[in-house]
């Protein structure tokens, strides 16, 4: 198996069948795609940009991009949900540009457990989430439990996992992760880099093994 061409799931395949129609200007197909995927994509956008009005604007941009770029979607290259998720994450991250000038300790990050606690408690604070919304590490656990990611994630150090979760789920930059974990920027960068490298090796090995087992059957 080429890792860039996973077997498409049924749902993804059904949705992917809409794409040539959308590329040809079929608005009913576009609406069907919107109805089936908007909540999922909005959830992703909203985690990264928590301001609902802005997040809704981002969601409009996402679907505008989908409408305009439908012809460039190549089912041989990616599953549709992966393609849509990438667009949603990109737009959401772009919408954060102005956040870069804001200090990371402002109250909007309060839900992640920022407070006057000691630095040693940072990881526990990251795990507990004040609001009902699951924290980045809760989400990471759920993602890990369901997929081959589980073994690969558990092979990472706790610091690597925390850094990746904050970056992926909260849309934090290196500097924001560093500030949140009270660590030097260089340390966080090397955690992120090391974590990604280990993940890559481990996930690709798992994919090759799955492919091998698939051929045996």
């Amino acid at each position: 198996m080429n890792v860039s061409k996973p077997a498409p799931s049924e749902r993804s395949a059904a949705l992917a069948a809409l794409m040539p129609l959308i590329a040809a200007g079929d608005r009913a197909a576009f609406e069907a795609l919107y109805r089936c995927t908007c909540a999922q994509l909005f959830g992703i956008v909203l985690r990264i940009n928590g301001e609902r009005a802005l997040a809704e604007e981002v969601l409009q941009e996402v679907f505008e991009a989908v409408w305009r770029a439908a012809a460039t979607f190549d089912p041989a290259q990616a599953q549709l949900l992966t393609w849509l998720t990438s667009i949603a994450r990109n737009r959401a991250i772009d919408s954060l540009r102005r956040r870069a000038s804001e200090p990371v300790t402002v109250s909007r990050f309060g839900a992640l457990g920022l407070g006057g606690e000691e630095a040693g408690e940072e990881h526990d604070l990251l795990a507990q989430h004040a609001s009902e919304e699951p924290g980045p590490l809760d989400l990471l656990d759920r993602a890990s439990n369901r997929h081959a990611l589980s073994r690969c994630m558990s092979a990472l150090t706790r610091d690597q996992r925390s850094s990746l979760a904050l970056a992926y789920y909260q849309g934090f930059s290196h500097a924001e992760v560093a500030s949140h974990l009270c660590q030097p920027l260089g340390t966080v960068k090397s955690w992120v880099r090391g974590g990604l490298q280990s993940l890559r090796t481990c996930l690709d090995r798992a994919a090759n093994r799955a492919d091998f087992a698939g051929r045996d059957r």
Binding site: S4, F63, T85, L140, R146, H147
Partner: protein
């Protein structure tokens, strides 16, 4: 692409998908992407690797206004026509 370039493309693609590649570096990556198939391949492999992370994110229904606004944005000339009739 030589070895060091491949390593660099790998790293850029990974950080782009994770979201930690930011600002000017992120925009530069988007600009050079169309002309670099190897970078595109690295990117889609990383999108595939990290896609599982997105699945536990709870879906949230956007308000109905989003779809209406989207239609105005995309098909606004039609809307004007209809209103004019």
């Amino acid at each position: 692409m030589d070895y060091s370039q491949r390593i660099r493309a790998e790293r850029l693609a990974a950080e782009y998908v994770l979201g930690t590649l930011r600002g000017a570096a992120r925009r530069r990556m988007e600009q050079v992407l169309p002309a670099h198939p190897a970078l595109q391949r690295a990117l889609s492999r990383w999108q595939w690797r990290l896609q599982a992370l997105a699945s536990p994110v709870e879906p949230v229904e956007p308000s109905a206004g989003v779809w209406d606004g989207l239609q105005r944005r995309l098909f606004c000339s039609r809307t004007v026509e209809v209103e004019a009739v």
